[in-house]
Amino acid sequence: MTNRTGSLTISATDVVMNGPKNVEAMLPLTPAVFHILLALSDGERHGYAIMRDVAAHTNGSLQLGPGTLYGCLKRMLAARLIEEADERPDRELDNERRRYYRITDFGARTLRAEAERLAVAVSAAQAKRLFGRKVGLVGVKR
């Protein structure tokens, strides 16, 4: 049994083992969840590395605190967007035995769908030439 979501296939295993996973039901993602998934799309990360990546991706405009980060991670684990990695990538360097997280297939699909959704929104904004000019004033003279 397959179900097409864009160019992606949800396998029967997904449905049977984990219940029906619907990418669309996850959208829109909050900025925190989106950027955490984005950080994990490059590979496994521990909490602090995720936090630094998110700050770097957003030029410091999104600074996750420990509470926000682990609150998101907890819910993302429950939603199976991410999973804990069993192996530590840098076991010798990492003497604090942190937990590492990695993105799941479902998480990757959700991230892609959200990115596509945002891209459509950005295209619409570009079509209206919103970038580079002041917006938001009602009744402004043009």
Binding site: M26, P28, L29, T30, P31, A32, V33, H46, G47, Y48, M51, Q63, L64, G65, P66, G67, T68, L69, Y70, G71, C72, L73, K74, R75, M76, A78, A79, L81, E96, R98, R99
Partner: protein, 218 residues
């Protein structure tokens, strides 16, 4: 490299943050407090190394805001807790009524020279205490313990601990002496069984709920 003052400052801040972490719900703390402490320590150390001790001030404010928001968010089960508290009071009342009925029936069947109602509301011949006093004491204990358990009702350990306490206090309160061993023992067993059954039912009802992903990090 950090100066001794900066190291002391960091240690102090970590201790304060460790205390702040205690406010999170137990289940969240068990899962993530160690990691959160690591993240906090690393973040604070990086801030001091890159920007000096004064930069800890905005960092601390940021952490404080994050803590406030997420404590409230992780405790967003306030409504669940309120419902749990109401349910606990209701359960306790039901248990009390059931136990009282049992006592009445038991004394009707096995009572000595007094009738059941008299024994329930008047004085025991031996203990100089009516059964209703024990029932009332048991009710108060149950209310207090089940209320406390409900307040931290998301935590399985607290629930199990509360059940143990409840059983212990219940059987102690309801067991003045072994004068009417059958009745008192049976009351304790009945009370425990009812409590366990009701709490198990509530746990099964409450735990399968999944958190909403899209309520995160808004």
């Amino acid at each position: 490299m950090l100066s001794p003052f900066e190291q002391r400052l960091l240690r102090c801040m970590c201790k304060i943050y460790g205390v702040m972490l205690l406010v999170y719900p137990c289940s969240f703390r068990r899962g993530y407090s160690r990691e959160m402490m690591l993240v906090f320590r690393n973040g604070a150390r990086d801030v001091v190394q890159n920007s000096g001790s004064w930069a800890l001030l905005p960092f601390s404010l940021h952490i404080l805001c994050d803590w406030l928001m997420t404590v409230l968010f992780e405790r967003d089960d306030m409504e669940i807790m309120r419902k749990a508290l109401v349910a606990a009071v209701r359960d306790t009342c039901c248990i009390t009524v059931a136990v009282s009925c049992f006592v009445v029936v038991a004394y009707m069947l096995f009572g000595r020279d007094d009738n059941a109602l008299k024994l329930l509301f008047l004085r025991f011949a031996f203990e100089q205490m009516p059964v209703s006093v024990f029932v009332a004491q048991g009710t108060v204990t149950l209310l207090a313990v089940s209320g406390a358990v409900s307040a931290v009702g998301v935590d399985m350990v607290a629930v199990l601990g509360g059940l143990g306490l409840m059983w212990l206090s219940g059987s102690m309160v309801m067991r003045p002496v072994s004068y009417y061993a059958f009745d008192v023992g049976a009351v304790g067993v009945l009370q425990s069984a009812l409590t366990v059954a009701l709490f198990s039912w509530r746990l099964l009802k409450r735990y399968p709920s999944q958190p909403s992903l899209n309520a995160v990090g808004k």
